[in-house]
Symmetry: C2
């Protein structure tokens, strides 16, 4: 465990098929005006919307609706939500949806009472929050981002071709998260699988960094093995409660700050994937899957010991009689087979990226320094070409 | 992940060799009167006591001292502490020590304003807390119990020959815990090693239960592998910061409620070990190590699949060409070798237990039902005899 750090995660999780029963008790802790935010309206088709409205009414809340949160929430939508929250002086924000909706709720939470342009202050300039924060809670309908138990919030500005994440402090974390695995059954297969890879990438991007012996790496190997096991079941049987509930739990713990504690982390795959997303508006998890293997094959020589450990501990590669390179490469090969098996997109071309975008995507990619190799722009271009 | 459950752990952890720097900021959140509780005075020898007193003085606190907390805190000591806390109307309890001191601080926290006999109400009758709770914080000097981030509190009544744990709710959890691995360097080797097995037992007693596929089991395999790795280093080189810091972190996460979520748990080794402790006053971790293998060998046939998984995933047993029983037994054999290697006590006789105590220890053992086999009294007697 490296350095000095603080761990605090006060989000209360209600897990299970009856988790929604706890919503009314939680709502009682906050004021009358609730901003209800959600996505494209699928929650109306499934009946969840009606259930939530009934609970809000029973709890005597005044409901201000903010629907239409898009998969990659935009800075324009953020301004709309912040204006609405301020105008109604809402006491609480209830987010119903996947990571995008919860990310968006956090951004609105800190932006409503911000006297500056919140996109510029909190995303472009990454400043600390110094204004009133509206408490939020969430009901998760799609897993992947871990947004239900962390301070992460990603907002896209189409005009500037930028997709930027800010990790807010624990005062912006959801106060509670309702995690009912059954609510995740209805999302389309493509989105479900993309979510699985988002989870995997969260774990890998924290795993592939550092050379010390760290308990977090052992925890991540456990999370990866459980995810690989359950996702293989879920792609064939999406309504398998055991598989879906394990995946929901893994997603939360993959990105609620725990496994990053006391170690360095990478996150370059997310940087490249987000840049691809800003150009193509493709599903987040698929932008990550499409660029991952070219990225990992590129950095493998710089973190060979960890890639070898990954092959043996996660993919059960038998190391006997093989060189470190061979072991590491066999691990990535098994990972590739798994990715193809569960139906992940393995090419950014399939996501709508074209050759003429590559320069721009590379320019839009933030270069981080926590991984085994700090990339140059030509290296990013090379990885993007390998990902075509 | 089985059933419906709630996860909430609000304890703030400050980790690292400079963690104590955060004490003053935390103390500022509470009132003037601080009850400072600690054990036998080793913190005076190490200089930690003086450091803490200086910080308390700087923070303008009035200090009420409550030293002399014994390794197995007694119900008499609990009454003494509760009376003192009430008499001085303390605002906060600062516990400095290992699990015993923190367990004790929690017991005092709920007992000071209890109108009943707290031993009877909270330990014998296990009632919910319905009186004022005094907030506590802790500075950990010995790892093992996980008490720094949970609601557990074990109190011993010598007259009644009972050692009972109550798991209190999150309102009794320490508000903060200061985890500086360097502070754990000074404890004697015997206590250190006992703590290592206490951690291992916490993990195993949650692991050896249930037949479902559960992410918690994968996380526990990770914690176990990290613990085995680091403890082997620490017994030879107790001042190895990397090893000791990993062990400190593992101890916290082994028993802060996370890995028990969504699964059944056992805890029978703790029940037997605590009964041994009530008769011998032996070090907690050693009572567990002395009874564990006879217990696990006894229940193995009833949970064979899990014991096989344990052998393969934790002890790297090669399963090729072996029966499930052979694989499982080889896992326990490797565990035994490891236990002897790091210097654990493998016999209750060595801890002071005598043949004539066995009947009484068996009677004092609570029988739980979460494990692979609910024990009868003759089975407990048999396990105790095997442990002699």
């Amino acid at each position: 465990m490296l350095g000095n750090f603080t761990y605090c995660n006060p989000t209360k999780l209600y897990f299970g098929d009856k988790a929604l029963d706890n919503l009314k008790t939680e709502l009682a802790k906050y004021g009358k005006k609730v901003l209800l935010t959600y996505g494209g309206g699928s929650i109306k088709k499934t009946g969840l919307y009606d259930q939530i409205i009934a609970i809000l009414n029973e709890a005597g809340k005044e409901i201000i609706e903010l629907p239409g949160v898009m998969p990659n929430p935009t800075s324009d939508k953020l301004i709309e939500g912040a204006d609405l929250a301020r105008k109604h002086e809402v006491d609480f924000i209830l987010a119903v949806g996947g990571g995008s909706v919860i990310d968006y709720a956090k951004a609105v939470s800190v932006s409503a009472w911000c006297n500056d342009n919140p996109w510029e202050k909190y995303f472009l300039r990454m400043e600390d929050v110094d204004n009133k924060i509206i408490p939020i809670g969430c009901i998760l309908t799609m897993v992947g981002t871990g947004s239900e138990m962390n301070g992460g919030s990603v907002i896209t500005n189409h005009e500037q071709k930028l997709k930027i994440g800010h990790v807010f402090g624990e005062n912006v974390f959801p106060k509670f998260a309702i995690l009912n695995p059954v609510l995740t059954y209805t999302i389309p297969q493509y989105q479900m699988i993309a979510g699985f890879y988002d989870i995997m990438s969260h774990i890998l991007e924290q795993y592939f960094s550092g050379t010390d012996d760290n308990t977090s790496d052992y925890l991540m190997e456990g999370l990866l093995k459980s995810l690989i096991h359950s996702s293989r079941i879920a792609v064939k049987d999406p309504q398998n409660y055991e598989a879906r509930s394990n995946i929901m739990w893994i997603a939360t713990w993959a990105l609620n700050t725990l496994v990053a504690k006391g170690k360095s982390t990478d996150w370059e795959v997310h940087m490249i994937g987000q840049a691809v997303g800003a150009y193509t508006d493709a599903t987040h998890g698929m932008t990550l899957s499409a660029v991952s293997l070219p990225y990992y094959r590129h950095i493998m020589p710089y973190g060979l010991a960890k890639f070898k450990r990954y092959a043996v501990n996660v993919w059960d590669v038998n190391p006997d009689g093989k060189s470190d390179e061979q072991i590491a490469e066999e691990g990535l090969k098994r990972m590739e087979e798994y990715m193809r098996e569960i139906g992940l997109v393995m090419s950014i071309k399939e996501l709508g990226a074209t050759e003429d975008m590559i320069e721009g995507i590379a320019d839009a990619t933030f270069i981080l320094t926590g991984g085994y190799k700090t990339l140059s722009k030509p290296e990013i271009i090379d990885i993007l070409k390998q990902s075509m």
